[in-house]
């Protein structure tokens, strides 16, 4: 069996020496691969990966995000996506190609304060990310509780192939939507929401506990809520 070396690193630490493929948060200096973040580095056969433990959300194309409309201008909606850049949803993506500011009323579709599920359509460093709501499940989210967590912990909340999110969802009877930007919307019965939020907070606090799944399961209790 091929082995993976796991290393806890801080900025400036040498992760490995030699010749590897490497991902984000790693810099190559001569023969050495240096970590740029606090996190867990994995050195495997197919390269070096660094999973950071902390950090801001930076948009990436095709990320699914949840954001709040903060402004409307003549051509679209400005959406706060929990990042240092505001997302922009062009009106032509919503009304179609024949959109004109004179005939279409943008606030009839989304108003300031509305919460949207959207996808990052395009992003490069010179311009703000462009959003799109094309596709199933995207668009206005009309009910639920918003929970914000650190974007670096999103993969843990989702779990391996969605195992964690499914567990929480099943046990609380809630619909849970996780945005890659660390915004989560939980919808269901009031009791279910309280339980689900508690479970999400537990994952956030004990992100790297080895028996996280068991801990969350214990916190949720055995019975399924909202089954009456």
């Amino acid at each position: 069996m091929p082995m993976i070396q796991r290393k806890q690193v801080i900025p400036g630490d040498v992760v490995a020496k030699g010749n590897y493929r490497y991902g984000s948060y790693i810099e190559k200096r001569g023969e050495e691969y240096v970590a740029l973040r606090v996190g867990l580095a994995e050195v495997g056969r197919d390269g070096i990966k660094l999973n950071p433990f902390t950090g801001p959300y930076l948009p990436r194309t095709d990320d699914e995000v949840i954001g709040k409309v903060v402004d409307i201008n003549g051509f679209g909606w400005v959406v706060d996506i929990n990042s240092c850049f505001d997302g922009f949803l062009p009106a032509s993506f919503v009304f179609g190609r024949d959109f004109s500011p004179a005939t279409h009323d943008l606030s009839s579709k989304f108003r300031v304060g509305d919460v949207l599920g959207a996808r990052i359509e395009a992003y490069e460093r010179s311009r703000d990310p462009q959003l799109s709501i094309r596709g199933e499940g995207y668009g206005k989210i009309s009910s639920g509780e918003i929970v914000k967590i650190s974007p670096t912990k999103v993969p843990r909340v989702i779990g391996r192939r969605g195992s964690m999110i499914n567990l929480i969802s099943e046990r609380t009877g809630c619909d849970i939507r996780v945005g890659q930007n660390g915004v989560i919307v939980v919808d269901g019965s009031p009791d279910g929401i309280v339980k689900a939020v508690k479970a999400i907070r537990l994952v956030e606090e004990e992100t790297h506990a080895p028996d996280l799944m068991a801990k969350v399961e214990a916190a949720l209790g055995g019975s399924v809520v909202g089954g009456d």
Binding site: M1, M3, V9, V34, R37, R125
Partner: protein, 250 residues
């Protein structure tokens, strides 16, 4: 040099009982403020300093935006109660200069090119001051940046050295700074082996300069170990570990 004799006695012991090459006690803590993106606290001798990092965030005013990199803003500030006589809270000439040198000491370590069109703010607040607060501030600020998850090439660690009479000493405290014959704050990036801050006042012979500079490097590396420990304690609950596991079958 009337005052010089009292700063260091004939046995080479300083006022607070240290030898010429010893540091004051240092305590470092990371992640102390909930509302900051990253934060750190340092107690270095009688210094008590908080560092907080906010960002990357939008730049205001907009005309300061840099299209290809982040704007790193630093503010070093001394609380009115940080010294014996109340300090006017308005930024003094000295504080403005120290803000500038802290910025310039940190910026080679921060990969500002990864955050175009944004601002990263570093706030260094001195709650209680003793000598060497700028290097203590730099040490804490680089931890706060790492805590905020900003991409960094290395941590930055500072240490000051100086002269008492013709004797090179490490880590001057307030009295030694004021009564002594020279002060040399140095900040280094220990893994890169680069110096990012070097300030000197006083008159040094070539030998003394060399000796003081090398002492600052040596002490800086010593403080780096404490910095490391503070960061790994915060995130890994102890020393950084390395383990080997079998590759999971997908």
């Amino acid at each position: 040099m009337a005052g010089t004799k009292q700063l260091i006695d004939e046995n080479g012991v300083r006022l607070d009982g240290r030898k010429w090459n010893e540091l004051r006690p240092i305590k470092l803590q990371v992640g102390v403020m909930k509302n900051a993106d990253g934060s750190a606290y340092i107690e270095w001798g009688k210094n008590k300093i908080m560092a907080a990092v906010y960002g990357p965030k939008e730049v205001h005013p907009k005309h300061q935006v840099l299209p290809d990199r982040a704007l790193l803003r630093c503010r070093y500030h001394m609380a009115p109660f940080s010294v014996d006589e109340r300090k006017n809270p308005a930024p003094s000439r000295r504080e403005i200069e120290i803000s500038k040198v802290i910025r310039e000491a940190l910026i080679p370590a921060v990969i500002v090119e990864d955050y175009p069109r944004t601002a990263i703010e570093v706030w260094v607040e001195v709650l209680q001051s003793d000598g060497g607060s700028r290097v203590a501030g730099i040490t804490a600020a680089s931890l706060a940046l790492a805590d905020a998850g900003i991409n960094m090439r290395d941590l930055v660690v500072g240490c000051s050295c100086g002269l008492i009479g013709e004797q090179v000493v490490s880590d001057l405290d307030d009295t030694e700074d004021k009564e002594g014959n020279g002060d040399m704050p140095v900040a280094i990036m220990p893994n890169l082996g680069l110096v990012s801050l070097l300030q000197v006042d006083g008159v040094y012979t070539r030998e003394n300069f060399q000796k003081a500079f090398e002492l600052a490097l040596e002490k800086g590396k010593q403080i780096y170990q404490m910095q490391r420990e503070a960061l790994t304690t915060r995130f890994f609950g102890g020393e950084a570990q390395s383990t080997e596991i079998e590759e999971a079958a997908e």
